[in-house]
């Protein structure tokens, strides 16, 4: 994580921007591929920005989609930051895919930019977890639909407290994701999960997180299936948890 604003500003003003994460600059490129972003569709290339050797990324013919995984929570809003040159005909759209399953929960068209920066606020989610590790995964996508040129010099995301902002309602939590009650789960029930540390050793009491599970471990599932143990890696933490998931026999 790279802080974008000087520390003393953060201390004195406690600005939300202090937690911005910079996704651009020289870390944009790792050799011939992007370091933090994945190309889901289309093509990309290196392009000069203000300096011929300070490369940004240009998005190829439409459709081109680049994406990056992130997390959301119920108390903070995400601010997406973009610096680049976006033609009016590029039809560039910022998309938010909560749980990274495919459906787009939020869209933000990117306006025409001439080496300007622009930031957009992404909504919070309405799930409130009792534990501070209770975040939900999401995917950010930049989707180019049009023929206009796009050169991106910097992309960033940060969080800030926004308790008054309208949240995205989450009522269909997939199996394996954090939950507060069983009625939030798409299937099964909301129950405690088994925690292990990075070395695979079980963590003791005190870590009280619940996630949607299809079934209890080693129990029978409907349709002749059986409940197996599924392991999920924690986002941004060195740890993992396990939950029950029905699998065909």
């Amino acid at each position: 994580m790279i802080l974008r604003t000087t520390p003393w500003v953060c201390l004195v003003l406690a600005l939300p921007a202090c937690s911005d994460t910079q996704l651009g600059h020289s870390s944009f490129w790792c050799g011939n591929t992007l370091c933090e972003w994945e190309v889901e569709q289309g093509s990309i290339g290196q392009a000069p920005t203000w300096h011929e050797k300070d490369y940004g990324v240009t998005l190829g013919d439409a459709p081109t989609v680049i994406s990056r995984r992130t997390t959301l929570n119920s108390s903070d809003c995400a601010r997406f930051f973009l610096l680049g040159n976006v033609d009016a005909g590029a039809e560039l759209v910022l998309e938010l895919d909560v749980y990274d399953e495919g459906p787009i929960e939020f869209e933000q068209p990117i306006p025409e930019l001439h080496w300007q920066s622009q930031s957009f606020v992404l909504p919070r989610v309405d799930l409130e977890f009792s534990d501070r590790w209770g975040v939900i995964p999401a995917s950010l996508r930049l989707h180019k639909h049009g023929a206009g040129n796009v050169v991106l010099a910097q992309l960033g995301i940060g969080w800030f407290s926004c308790p008054e902002a309208a949240p995205i309602a989450i009522a269909d939590v997939p199996t394996g994701q954090f939950c507060m009650s069983s009625d939030q789960c798409r299937r099964g029930r909301c129950g405690p999960v088994t925690w292990k540390n990075a070395q695979g050793e079980p963590l003791g009491p005190g870590v009280d997180i619940t996630a949607c599970s299809d079934c209890a471990f080693d129990s029978e599932c409907g349709d002749g299936g059986r409940c197996i143990t599924e392991t999920q890696q924690l986002l941004e933490l060195t740890g993992q948890y396990s939950y029950g998931k029905c699998a065909a026999r």
Partner: protein, 554 residues
């Protein structure tokens, strides 16, 4: 018989006295001049600067104030020995004609140039003094006046003339002395003769001519005699050269005129125009012809007597120095008129040393300085901020590198008291930026300017100045970006120009120089980015530094 004899003798005395006086009140009816000037020296002799100019001035003054017919003045510039002798031989027939008619005829021979112990150096050729003597004495002239401004060349001050070991002046006078001869030489056997860059003349010839213009008219009878001009030239040449590194120069005169008595050489009272120095005036005056700046007179006058200088009509500038004070005056001298130098109509100037002969004048000055600049935060810099760069901080917490430390180093050539030209190399801009991903970007901007500087001397030790400069400029940028898999290093050069207008003060308490401080505004569109922004490396700048004077001693 005895009273009759006494009466007859008295009548003869009165006759001769009156006839002699009459002869002295008008120019010579028949006077010839051979005036020779030669700058080139022989082997091992440095070329002179003003010998030929001095000859021209002497020839001109003989016509202007000496009563010489211009047709009878032979000016020989850079001649060979044969031409000098041929000229003298050519005059022989004319002198014989005058003699046959019982007419008195005078010959004035002047030489300015190099010489050795027993010969004049006319470039690569030599003219032996014995030969010259033979030709001069062969002429049936009533009176022959020879003026020699020559001695050994030296390593300093373009000294000219004979070697110290062999006394040119002594030998030449011994060689030429004969009946009806007067020989004036610019120095003794122990000395060198010198030229002055300030006077643009040799010291001796300059004062010889000033004396003939009236400064040497000791008895104020309106004419300057051989004896008077010698005394004047002797004193003034000695006083002027005593301050030089070569040392004092004593003019010499030996005459054997056999009843010729006082010989008038010029008649300043009959001149077309005059510059008067009133009896109560005292000080040193440098009188220069405008606009050429040629020095026509440099005299020092004490209170009590009026001094009249015969000059051609025209425009003159006079610089007057009295103690530590100095004045500058413009004089418009009209034909058949005189102008009195009146300090009340002069402008006080701070630096009198520039006109004081021997005190030296600034020719080259050198400057080195440091300062701070404030280039404008233009679109180029704003875009750097947009792309995540922030200015780095220097050793002082409050000093950003984008408030760059400047450097200047240059030289100035003084053209006149108030005007000079200069050239200087400068570091005009420097800035360092950093980005949070460890990328670093910096630029330097340099210029090589030429400019014009106007000066106003406010006090003896304080001079104000204003200047403009322009020149080519170079901007060098460096980008270092540490990527995940590779480090990008990029250096680019941008070419443009730099121009600045500035004003400042020089604090010059010492002869060697002092300090300067200046402020100005510059424009230097130089460094360009990929977005089409051009950074102006100019802006406000303040410089302080050392000003070193290189003073030339005359």
């Amino acid at each position: 018989m005895r009273p009759v004899l006494l009466a007859l003798l008295a009548m003869l005395a009165i006759f001769f006295a009156s006839s002699g006086a009459a002869a002295q009140t008008r120019p010579h009816p028949i006077a010839y001049a051979v005036v020779v000037g030669s700058n080139p020296g022989g082997a091992g002799q440095q070329q002179l600067e003003y010998a030929e100019k001095d000859a021209e001035r002497v020839a001109k003054l003989l016509v202007e104030l000496g009563g010489y017919d211009a047709q009878r003045v032979r000016l020989l510039l850079r001649p060979d020995a044969g031409r000098v002798l041929a000229t003298l031989d050519g005059l022989k027939r004319q002198f014989e004609a005058h003699a046959s008619r019982g007419e008195d005829a005078l010959l004035f021979f002047y030489y300015s140039g190099h010489a050795r112990a027993d010969a004049l150096n006319l470039g690569a050729q030599t003219l032996r003094l014995g030969t010259l003597r033979q030709r001069l004495t062969a002429l049936p002239a009533t009176l022959t006046i020879t003026v020699l401004d020559a001695c050994q060349s030296g390593a300093f001050s373009r000294a000219k003339g004979a070697s110290r070991a062999a006394d040119f002046s002594y030998n030449s006078m011994q060689a030429l002395r004969t009946r009806g001869f007067a020989v004036m030489a610019s120095s003794t056997e122990k000395e060198l003769s010198q030229e002055s860059d300030e006077l643009k003349s040799s010291y001796f010839t300059h004062h010889f001519l000033v004396g003939l213009r009236g400064a040497g008219d000791h008895n104020r009878d309106g004419r300057v005699s051989l004896d008077e001009v010698y005394r004047y030239a002797y004193a003034r040449t000695l006083a002027a050269t005593a301050r030089t590194a070569v040392g004092g120069q004593h003019a010499t005169l030996e005459t054997e005129l056999m009843g010729q008595g006082d010989v008038p050489l010029s008649y300043p009272a009959a001149a077309d125009a005059h510059v008067e120095l009133a009896p109560d005036f005292d000080g040193r005056v440098l009188l220069q012809i405008q606009p050429s700046g040629s020095v026509i007179a440099e005299v020092t006058k004490a209170k009590g007597t009026q001094l009249t200088l015969a000059v051609p009509s025209g425009s003159y500038s006079a610089t007057v120095k009295r103690g530590e004070k100095a004045w500058s005056c413009e004089l418009d001298v009209k034909s058949r008129a005189g102008v009195t130098l009146d300090l009340g109509r002069c402008t006080a100037v701070a630096d009198g040393s520039a006109s004081a002969k021997g005190a030296g004048r600034e020719v080259w000055n050198f400057e080195v300085g440091f300062g701070f600049g404030a280039p404008p935060e233009d679109a180029y810099v704003k875009h750097l901020h947009t792309f995540g760069f922030s200015e780095s901080y220097g050793p002082l917490i409050t000093q950003r590198w984008c408030e760059p430390a400047l450097f200047t180093s240059g030289a100035e050539r003084r053209l006149t008291r108030g005007l000079g030209v200069f050239a200087r190399f400068q570091i005009i801009d420097h800035c360092e930026f950093r980005r949070l991903d460890s990328a670093e970007f910096s630029y330097y901007a340099y210029s090589l300017d030429a400019g014009v500087r106007g000066r106003l001397e406010l006090l003896d030790w304080l001079t104000g100045y204003a200047q403009v400069e322009i020149g080519p400029a170079l901007g060098v940028t460096h980008l270092s970006a540490a990527g995940t898999t590779e480090t990008i290093e990029s250096e680019e050069a941008n070419f443009g120009f730099h121009t600045r207008a500035s004003a400042g003060l020089m604090f010059l308490p010492w002869k060697l120089g002092g300090f300067f401080a200046e402020a100005g505004y510059a424009y230097a569109p130089l460094i360009e980015n990929e977005l089409g922004d051009v950074h102006d490396s100019g802006g406000f700048a303040v410089l302080i530094g050392f000003h070193i004077r290189n003073t030339r001693t005359e």
